[in-house]
C-alpha cells in the first residue's frame, strides 16, 4: 500500500511562491488502478514526481509498506524506486542511444530482477518482436510508449506511475497503448496511478480523482 498523508508543495517562481497543494492525503491500494485528472498546471505531474521520490515534498509523509519515503535520502529513495515503481512519462521515456531491447531490460537489470520468461511474454504482448534491435529514433510515438510500458513492467515493480502516457499519441494509437497497459496491469496485479486528461479513460480505472485548487476530490 502506498499512503501519502499531509503532503504540501510549493514552487519558488520569479513571481513568488506558487503553492500547488497543502495537506493532501492519498492512498493507492495493491492491485488498484487510480486516475488523476485536473487542469493543466494544477500540479498533477508534481504529485506524481513526489510519490515516485523524484522530487521532495515540503511537508507530509509517504508510506510505502514499511518505508517512510520522506525520511529517506536521495540514494535510498532511488533504491525504493528501482524496486517498487515503474515510471512512465508523456514522452522521451527512452534512452536514445540504447536499442529497444536494452531499453526494455534497463530497470530490470538495475534491480537485478530480469526474468526471461516474463520478458518474452511481455515482448509478445506488446508486439515488439520485430523492433528489438532498433533505436528509439526509428520508432513511432506509439511504439516508443509501448517500449516504455514494457520497461516499467519488465522490472515487475508492484506500482506503476504514469504521467499522461498517451498524451502525445493520436486517438487510435492512444487507445491501443492504453488497452495494452490496462490488460498487463490486470494480468500482473500491479497498482496503477495514472495522470490523464481523458474522462473516458479515467472511467476504465477502478477509481478517479481530480486535483482542484490543491485538493483531491
Amino acid at each position: 500500500m502506498l499512503k501519502a498523508t499531509g503532503i504540501s508543495k510549493s514552487h519558488h517562481t520569479p513571481q513568488g511562491p506558487l503553492t500547488l497543494f497543502t495537506e493532501l492525503n492519498f492512498t493507492l491500494n495493491p492491485a488498484e488502478s487510480v486516475a488523476l485528472m485536473g487542469e493543466s498546471g494544477s500540479g498533477k505531474s508534481t504529485l506524481l514526481h513526489i510519490l515516485a521520490g523524484l522530487e521532495p515534498a515540503d511537508a507530509g509523509n509517504i508510506l510505502l509498506h514499511e518505508h517512510n519515503l520522506t525520511s529517506l535520502n536521495d540514494r535510498q529513495r532511488a533504491h525504493i524506486r528501482r524496486d517498487y515503481f515503474g515510471v512512465i512519462f508523456q514522452q522521451l521515456n527512452l534512452i536514445p542511444s540504447l536499442s529497444v531491447y536494452d531499453n526494455l531490460v534497463f530497470q530490470a537489470r538495475l534491480a537485478q530482477r530480469l526474468e526471461h520468461h516474463w520478458l518474452d511474454h511481455l515482448i509478445a504482448e506488446l508486439g515488439l518482436q520485430q523492433l528489438l534491435s532498433r533505436y528509439p529514433s526509428q520508432l513511432s510515438g506509439g511504439q516508443q510508449q509501448r517500449v516504455a510500458i514494457g520497461r516499467a513492467l519488465a522490472a515487475k515493480t508492484p506500482y506503476i506511475l504514469a504521467d499522461e502516457p498517451t498524451g502525445s499519441l493520436d486517438e487510435i494509437n492512444a487507445e491501443q497503448v492504453m488497452s495494452l497497459l490496462l490488460a498487463l496491469v490486470k494480468e500482473t496485479g500491479t497498482s496503477l496511478f495514472m495522470v490523464t486528461h481523458s474522462q473516458a479513460l479515467a472511467q476504465r480505472l477502478d477509481r478517479s480523482l481530480t486535483l482542484r485548487q490543491g485538493q483531491l476530490v
Binding site: 532511488a78 525504493i80 542511444s97 510515438g141
Partner: protein, 828 residues
Amino acid sequence: MLFQRSSVWVLHALLSHWWKHPVQLSTLMVGLVAATALWSGVQALNQQARMSYDQAAQRFNSLNQAQLTGINQQPIAQQDYVQLRRLGWPVTPLVEGQLTTDLSPQYSFTLVGIEPMTLLNTESAQAPATGLPTNLSLNQFLTPPWEVWLSARTKEAVLQAFEGVDTGFPLNPLGERPNLRVSNALADYEMMTDIYLAQYWLEMDQQHSRLLLLQDTFAQPLPNELSSRLRVIIPQSDHDISRLTESFHLNLTALSLLAYLVGLLMVYSAMHLAMNQRRSLYRVITACGIDQRHLMACVLTELLLLSALIALPGLLLGYWIASWLLPDLSTSLAGLYGAQVDANLSLTSRWWFQGLMMAWAGTLLASLLPLLRLLNNKPNNRPDANIIHFSGSVGSRLMTLALISATAALAVAYTGQSLLSGFLLLGLIFTTAALLLPLLVDKVLALGQALFSSALGQWLWADARLQISHLAIALIALLLALSTSIGVGGMVEGFRHTFVGWLDQRLAAEVYVRADSQQQADELYAWLDQHEQVKAILPSARADRVLHQTPIELRGIQVHATYVDHWPLLSRMDDAWSQIEDQGAVMINEQLARQLALNLGDSIPLSTDTSFSVVAIYSDYGNPKGQVMMSIETLYQHWPHAEQGSFALRVDPDQLDSLKDQLNEHFSLGDNQVLDQLAVKDFSIRLFERTFAATRALNLLVLGVASIALLSSLLTLSSLRLTQMAPVWASGVSRQQLMFFELMRLLFIALITAMLAIPLGLLISYCLVTVINVRAFGWALPWQIFPQQWFNLTLSALISALLAAIIPLLKLRFSSPGKLLKGFRDDQ
C-alpha cells in the same frame, strides 16, 4: 560502496551515447588527443633537452668552466700544479684521454681522472658540476683496487668490449682489476676514476691534461715563470648564446599550453553538447532508480575511462611529434652547447603518468560547467534547444566577466615584475578576448541586421546571430590560434630581422684571429702588419670583474670606423665614440643597463678610484652577462693584467681565403682561433632557423586543431540547421541559394574573427617582445609588424572555414526533401 552492479548498466547507457553520436565523439577525441599530444610532446622535448643539458653540464669540458691549460695543448706538469696550489690558486687537476680497445669492433672510451680531495673540498659556490655520484666513498675511490665509474649503458659496452671485466679489462698498477660502479650522472662512453689510475693507464705519469679553476672570479695574474707554459681561460661570454635555448623552451611550453587550451575548448564543446542531449537520458535513469550522486559518480567514471582511453593515442602522437621535432632541437643544442642529444627519445614512466594526469585534469576542467548543470537537473526540465541570445542577460554577464578580466590584466601589467606575471598577463588578455568575441560578433551581425530590411536579409542576419551560440567555442579556438600565430609569428620574424641586422653589425670585421699567448700575439701582429691585404688590425683585450656580486665582462677595443659605423647602439650621446677614445668613457650592453638601471650620462662604479661615464648602450642578444666596452688603452690603464683578446681584421673579401691559408701556414692555429665572419653568421642564422622551426610547426598544429574544432561544430550544427532552414526552403528559397547563403555567412563570421585576431595578435606580440622577453632574458626586441602575415592568416582562416563548411554543405545539398520536412513532423 559506490561501485554497484547497477553501475555497469548505467555506464553502458552513458557510453552508448557516444557510439550514437560519432561527431561528438570525434570532437572529443580530436580535442583531447590534440591537447595531450601537443602538451606531452613538448614536455618530452623539454625533458630530453634538459637531460642533455645536465649531461653536458656534468662533463668537465663544459664551455662555461674557467680553467688553465698548457700552451699549445701541452700537458701540465705536476710541479706547476703544486706551485699554483701553494700560491693559493683554487685549482683541481684533470687527466683525460681516450681508452681504446684493440679488439674489433673498436670501442673508445673517454677516460677522466679526477682528484676528489681538491675537487670536493671547495667552499666556492661555483664549484663545477663534477658528475660525481653522491654515494661515492672516498676511501674506496682513492685506494686499491680503485673504482671506475661509468653509466649503465657504458658498463654494458665495457662488458661486451672486454668480454667480461675479469678477462680483458685493464689492470691497475698492482695487477688487480678495479671495481666497476654505475653512475647516471656520467655521459655515455665516459669513465671516471682516480687521477692516479688514469695517469697510469694513459701513460701520463706526473702530468695533467688541464686544471679546473674552481672560482670563476679568481682573477690573479699567473706568476711569470708559469705564464710561459700555462694559459688561463675564462669562459667567453661573447659566444655563450645558451640563453637562446631558454627562450626556445619557454616558447615551446607557452605554445603547448595554448594548444592544450584549444584542445580543451573542443572537449568542452563536445561535453556541453553531450550533457545537454543526455538530459532525457538522465531523467530516465533517475526514474528507473538511480540517485543523483550515483549518477554523478557514473558520469565521472565514464569521463575518466573515456579520457584515459583517448589519452593513450594522444600520448603516442605526442611521442611521435617529439621525435619529429627532435632533430631540429638536437641541431640547436649541438650548435649552442656542443652537446649531442640522443636521437632516440627516452621517456620516463613519469612522462606517461603526467600525460594521463593532464588529460584527466583537462577533461574534468572542460566538463566542470556541464557537470554542475547536471547536478541541477530537475525531472521537469526538458532538453532545451540551447540557444543563447548574446544581447540578453548572458551578454551582460559575459561583459561583466570580460571587464573583470581586463581590469585584472591592467593591474598585472602595471604591478607585475616576474616572468610568471608576464604569462598571467597573456592568459588574462586571452580570457578577455575569448569572453568578448561572441559579443563583438553578435554586435557586428546586429548591425548587419539593422542595415538590411528585406525579409530574406532579416532572416540571413538573424539566423547568423542564432548560430553564434553554437559556434562560439569554435570561434574562440580559431581566435586564439590566429592571434597566437600573429603574435608568435611577429615575434619570431621580428627577432630574425633584428638578429640578422645585429649580427651584421657585430661581425663587421671579416676575420677574427685569437692568439694563444702574448708571444704569439706579437708575432701575429708583426706578420699581419706586413700584409697589404689586411687593411686594419684591431686588437682587443678583456678582463672579468664582479659588480654587485654578479660577474661582468670588460672589453677593450680600438676605436675604429669598423665599430663607429656598425656597432648596434640602442642609444648614444652625440660624441660617444670620441669620449670613449679620449676621455675614458664606456658603453654598456642593454642587459647591464636594465639590471643596474643605468642611463646615458650615469657613471658605473667599476673601480674605486675612477668613475666611468656611460655614453652609449648597445644591444647584445643572447648574452646572459653584463658587458662594458671601452677603449683598449683605458682597459690596460686600469687593469694592466687584462687578457689579450682576438684581433679583428679588415680584409678585402676576395683575399680572405688566401690570407687564411697563409695564416695557417705560418702559425699552427687551432680551429677556433681563426673565425671567419661569414661562417659565424651562417652558422648563427642556421641555428636560429632551426631553433624556431619547432615553434613554427607547433603554431601550425594549433591552427590545424582550431580548424578541426570549427569543422566539428559545423557538423554538429548541420542536422539542427536542416530543421532551421526548412521553413525558409518551404517558403520558396532554393537549396542552392540556401547553400550559398550558408557559405557566405560562415565566411563572413570567420572574417570577423580574423579581423579581431589581428589587433589581439599585435597586443600579444607586443607583450612577448616588451614584457616576456625582457623578464626572461633581460633584453627587449624592437616591436615590428608584418602585415603580410596578417593577410596570410586571414586567408588561412577563410580557407579553414571553407574546408570546414564543405561536408555540412554537401549534406544540405544531398539531403532529401523528406529530411527537411521531418522538422515539421515531429517536435522532438
